[in-house]
């Protein structure tokens, strides 16, 4: 057992202290507190996969914006005598040309931009229609839920193709029809997912606590239920993006997607598929761009989800 060593100061050390004097200096330095966003960002920074994805997506975004101002060729300029050039065979067409002799690189750039815009829009629709719809349905429950769910059943039962055919006669090809088609169909799953999640969350005591504090149902929905469904929302968004891109491909295929001769990733995939056995690069190029983008979106999504989940923060 130890005994104090400095015998000189002994007596003084063993004197009572007036507590009021020391409490001011209590527990030394207060550790710094980080805000929610700082923490989330910190967490994200340590997720390598997510960071690589983020950088890649930023790169794609920058390139897309840059392509507004400069592209190697006019993506629609045809040069039928140089059609179906393989990649890396002609210096001025690094990624080759398509069946009408258009520059694949420029078309990819253009198509990526268009598809990203579509994806962005679809996400907006999901968030502006699907999320509130699901929230209301799951949170209000009972009769409201019943009615809203029946509406969803009806909406999702009417075949997408019939609706698209209708759009076809009402609308001209272009963004408007794509947007409408997406608005008509894409939010339904999001709504159901959010509803299910909301139903689960509302049984937690903190919802009751909020009620006890006199929060209105609306406030509870947006302050408590919504943030706790974030994981589901982020995850679903990762699917909305490719779904929208493919829906556009279908629309283009039927004739109301992007205006000919403009490209989107969807139309590039469509044409690529047709000649797949002979001009494989025409399929692989858009597939590669899309896959990389999707993978990046998903890894980033995972990272975000984890970063915004307070229960798991601090780990790693």
């Amino acid at each position: 057992m130890e005994t104090p060593k400095k015998s000189t100061s002994k007596n003084e050390e063993f004197q009572f202290v007036n507590l009021d004097e020391v409490t001011a200096a209590q527990s030394g330095v207060a550790p710094k507190s980080l805000s929610f966003h700082e923490k989330a960002w910190h967490q994200l920074k340590h997720n390598h996969a997510a960071m690589v994805s983020l950088i890649f997506l930023l790169f794609i975004a920058v390139v897309s914006v840059a392509s507004l101002f400069w592209m190697p060729h006019d993506p629609n300029a045809q040069n039928v005598s140089l059609s179906n050039l393989k990649p890396f065979t002609n210096g001025s067409y690094p990624l080759g040309t398509d069946g009408l002799g258009r520059d694949m690189l420029s078309r990819l750039l253009y198509g990526t931009r268009i598809s990203l815009m579509i994806a962005l829009f679809a996400t907006l629709v999901d968030i502006l229609i699907g999320v509130p719809y699901g929230l209301v349905s799951g949170w209000c429950g009972d009769r409201v839920d019943n009615i809203l769910q029946r509406i969803i059943e009806i909406v999702s039962s009417i075949p997408e193709l019939v609706l698209i055919m209708l759009l076809l006669i009402i609308l001209k090809p272009g963004m408007v029809s794509i947007i409408l088609a997406i608005a008509l169909s894409s939010w339904v799953l999001m709504a159901r997912l959010v509803r299910a999640s909301a139903m689960q969350i509302k049984s937690a005591d903190f919802v009751l606590a909020a009620q006890a504090m006199g929060e209105s149902p609306m406030q509870i929905a947006f302050r408590h239920i919504l943030p706790n469904t974030m994981g589901v929302i982020i995850t679903r968004t990762m699917f909305t993006i490719p779904a929208a891109i493919f829906l556009e491909a279908l629309l283009s295929f039927i004739g109301i997607g992007v205006k000919a001769p403009n490209a989107s990733l969807g139309t590039l995939l469509n044409t690529g598929e047709k000649g797949f056995q002979f001009y494989q690069y025409q399929l692989w190029e858009p597939v590669l761009v899309l896959s990389l983008m999707m993978i990046a979106f998903n890894l980033l999504g995972d990272g975000l989800r984890d970063a915004f989940d307070p229960n798991t923060r601090g780990e790693k």
Partner: protein, 352 residues
């Protein structure tokens, strides 16, 4: 005395958080004798649960054992491979978790959750497992056990859930039972049943128990020895009588004083002012110094060592140093002791 069943030596555990490293427990040394109940009491947030989770090797991912060892049957649990640990957990080492509300799988019938435990560790068929499970449910005081067997956790009140959790821990007759506030959610009658159950387990099977609680009444009833924790450290340990009748550390005294009793009248209750230190930057000296009315200067600078009070009783406070001024901390407690002594006598008379 026989060899200790569990020896925790110099255990320190940190949590990595974004704000810094939380030094949740520091240099904790504890021994668990066979067949004893060791009560762990102390400030909430003082690291009691962390200590037990370290023993079970169920720390969250951001935890890091900085130093120390946990020896069980000659093996260091901290170094055991996961497979071996799985064999020990639930069978040799059982834990009753602190929060009964969330400790049960909401989607599984409680009966099945209890049975699962048995089936995992014992070579037993389902029928027998069910019988055993029902028996233990009745034992922990669940009426209508047969019907309740099929219920889901959400259909139980907090107290009932807690009993289920306890049933699960007891069902395999563990060698060491860690009970983290097992009766917090229970009413006193059930609580006393549970305590009896634990005592019975200890007496019949020689199970050693680490019992965490805030209720000093419970401690008095169930414990053989007591360790007092504060801010990640053990401040004092000794037999129940040592702690209740001769507390040495001002914190222990404070705890005892703030325990209400039925005999008290309004205004009698004392409390310890202030808040415990932040464990990211724990103070260098006695962590309790800032709230200690009898704090010495040295308390702020130097960690007090354990001073021996008796063979069984040690306390880490500079007040026990020979040079320290003598203080008497326990006036009120003495009164209380005398009061109960009378009652004890009365009981004894009645028994005659």
């Amino acid at each position: 005395m026989a060899e200790d069943v569990l020896t925790i030596k110099n255990l320190s555990v940190d949590f990595k958080t974004l704000e810094g490293t939380v030094h949740a427990i520091r240099n904790v040394t504890l021994k668990l004798h066979p067949g004893e109940v060791l009560a762990l009491v102390g400030e909430s947030g003082s690291g009691k649960s962390v200590t037990t989770k370290t023993v079970m090797q169920l720390l969250p991912k951001n935890a890091e054992v900085v130093s120390g060892s946990v020896e069980y049957e000659g093996r260091d649990l901290l170094k055991l491979p996961e497979k071996e640990l799985q064999k020990l957990r639930g069978n040799d080492l059982a834990e009753i978790f602190q929060d009964p509300m969330t400790a049960l799988d909401p989607t599984m019938r409680v009966g099945k959750q209890i049975m699962e435990h048995l089936l995992q560790h014992q070579d037993i068929n389902k029928e027998d497992a069910k019988k055993k499970a029902l028996a233990i449910m009745e034992k922990v005081g669940i009426v209508n056990a047969k019907e309740r067997f099929k219920n889901f956790p959400y259909q139980f009140s907090g107290g009932m859930r807690q009993r289920i959790v306890i049933a699960m821990a007891l069902i395999c007759n563990p060698k060491i039972l860690i009970a983290d506030e097992p009766t917090t959610a229970l009413d006193v009658t059930i609580q006393s049943q549970i305590l009896k159950l634990i005592k019975q387990l200890k007496d019949e099977l020689g199970t050693a128990v680490i019992f965490i609680t805030h209720d000093l009444g419970v401690v008095a009833g169930v414990a053989d020895r007591v360790a007092v924790m504060y801010a990640g450290r053990i401040l004092e340990f000794g037999s129940v009588n040592d702690i209740f009748y001769y507390p040495q550390h001002p914190y222990t005294v404070g705890l005892l004083k703030s325990t209400p009793t039925m005999e008290m009248d309004g205004g009698d209750l004392e409390s310890i002012p202030g808040t415990p230190p932040n464990l990211i930057n724990p103070p260098a000296g006695d962590p309790f110094a800032y709230r200690n009315r009898y704090a010495l200067k040295i308390d702020f600078k130097k960690l007090p060592p354990f001073f021996k009070v008796s063979d069984t009783h040690y306390a880490a406070t500079w007040l026990l140093d020979k040079q320290a001024p003598k203080v008497h901390l326990t006036d009120k407690l003495d009164q209380r002791r005398q009061h109960y002594a009378k009652l004890v006598e009365k009981e004894a008379h009645q028994d005659d």
